[in-house]
């Protein structure tokens, strides 16, 4: 695979309001760097993330999508992330089955106390997606410049 050295991936991160978004805030509070390629969308719970949002992000040119929620058992709404876990397991497995690189999707549980984990996860994910290069398999050419 040809790797474009200047390639900067576009990463959409869906973060639940109660844990992961707060974890991201904590990363900020502690001035923990992670790439600007990561853009966070706040959702009430990871279970609010519809597979359509993920596909939409890929359609519009995202190179990776990550969903962050409370640790299993800690969901603010008691069970939301359990549903997220099932939905995303099946969706990601399906995307993999269609030949779309599995490294472009990820679910990570990040608590409000895990600012460091949030930053580390984002650094790692960006690196992983950068290595893959541009998302070609799930792109909408009309949305490319």
């Amino acid at each position: 695979m040809q790797v474009n050295e200047n390639f900067k991936p576009l990463i959409v991160a869906f973060c639940c309001n109660w844990c992961s978004y707060a974890g991201a805030d904590l990363a900020g509070n502690n001035r923990l760097n992670y790439p600007a390629e990561v853009k966070i969308i706040r959702v009430p719970c990871s279970c609010r993330v519809n597979p359509m949002f993920i596909l939409r992000a890929f359609q519009r040119g995202a190179d990776g999508v990550i969903i962050c929620g409370c640790h299993p058992g800690d969901c603010h709404y008691t069970s939301g992330n359990y549903f997220t876990r099932r939905r995303m397991s099946l969706l990601f497995s399906m995307l993999d089955y269609l030949g779309i690189e599995r490294e472009r999707t990820r679910v990570e549980w990040v608590s409000a106390a895990e600012g460091a984990k949030f930053a580390a996860t984002m650094n790692e994910f960006v690196e992983q997606v950068t290595a893959l290069g541009e998302n070609k398999r799930l792109e909408d050419l009309r949305c490319k410049q």
């Binding site: 359509m52 596909l55 359990y82 099932r86 995303m88 399906m94 089955y97 999707t105």
Partner: protein
């Protein structure tokens, strides 16, 4: 050959009509050729005697029609093959029709033939197909009568039939069968064993044929939304035609996801696809994954069962593990 005959079904239908148990019959109506059977409502003995047919081309699953038909007055008789009964139950689970307004007669099924396979073999001049025991006699325009092994020309879904057992009926004609330990996941396992590039190429080739006619959706007994997301401009995924290769994938991923855990694997989507896209391989992937990740689950086996996507356990696999676990399984099965 089907173990139950047209005459037996006809007799049962007339009997129930005469007794006033039902006032209509959902059955198969004969067409121009033997293979172009149309689902139809019959309301009298005369209509039935004239047009009712039961042969190797009666693959249509009537379950979904019951949503519309139970809105009418009185009870309707419906003939259900084993695989149809799963859809029947699934629709009941989703409160889609009134069970009281249906008289379900379970009928054994010996698999249904696929006219496309036959035409591919003998060419397009087919004018009729008759069944003679384990042979199909194909009448053709240019090659006379051609004899084929019936078993080789059954539809894919019938060759890997998952169940000969009826899971719902008011009355059963003939003997009930068993759930079959079928090879229906073999093709999925083969794909799983491929490299991502091969898989991508495979699906690109298949899905690029899609003409977005929506036949798969419209025939699907699990697709009973009042308004489909693909027809709703506010849904963000609405589209009438494929404008881009992305949309082919988007449509089929979303559709498969929406029926995941609810799809009974009746195979109607693949049967009706004018472009012969193996859509069942998407649905079966979800079923196979669900079985592996969360324990075996057959949608429609029981009315009221909780679909895996609206359920969870605290010890479920993490998405990363789940995807990785497919490698091991794929490798083993293939």
């Amino acid at each position: 050959m089907q173990t139950v005959t047209r005459d037996l079904l006809l007799q049962k239908a007339c009997e129930l009509l005469d007794a006033g148990t039902v006032n209509r019959v959902y059955g198969w109506q004969k067409g121009q050729f033997d293979y172009d059977v149309t689902p139809a409502v019959f309301s009298s003995r005369e209509e039935l005697e004239k047009d009712f047919v039961y042969n190797d081309f009666c693959g249509a699953n009537f379950s979904k029609y019951l949503i519309k038909e139970t809105a009418g007055e009185g009870k309707i008789l419906v003939f259900l093959k084993p695989c149809d009964t799963y859809s029947f139950n699934q629709l009941l689970t989703e409160h889609r029709f009134d069970r009281e307004k249906v008289y379900a007669v379970g009928i054994p099924c010996d698999g249904m033939a696929d006219i496309r396979l036959i035409e591919e073999e003998v060419g397009e001049g087919v004018t009729g197909v008759e069944t003679d025991g384990d042979k199909l006699i194909v009448h053709t325009l240019y090659d006379g009568d051609v004899k084929l092994n019936r078993a080789d020309y059954l539809a894919e879904r019938c060759r890997v039939c998952k169940s000969k057992k009826h899971v719902a009926y008011d009355e059963l004609l003939g003997e009930d069968g068993d759930v079959v330990d079928s090879a229906r996941f073999d093709e999925v396992a083969k794909l799983e064993a491929m490299t991502p590039d091969e898989r991508f190429a495979f699906w690109q080739n298949e899905l690029s044929r899609c003409i977005r006619c929506n036949a798969c959706r419209d025939v699907c007994p699990a697709c009973t939304c009042e308004k489909c997301v693909f027809g709703n401009p506010k849904s963000g995924v609405e589209n009438k035609a494929v404008s881009d290769s992305f949309e082919e994938k988007m449509f089929h991923i979303i559709r498969a996801f929406h029926v995941a855990g609810r799809c009974t694997d009746c195979g109607e989507c693949s049967r009706v696809c004018p472009q012969h896209i193996p859509l069942h391989l998407l649905n079966r992937k979800f079923i196979k994954d669900i079985d592996a990740f969360y324990g075996e689950y057959q949608a429609g086996a029981e009315v009221g069962s909780r679909a895996p996507l609206v359920d969870y356990t605290e010890g479920d696999m993490e998405p990363g593990e789940a995807v990785a676990s497919v490698d091991e399984r794929g490798g083993k099965d293939a």
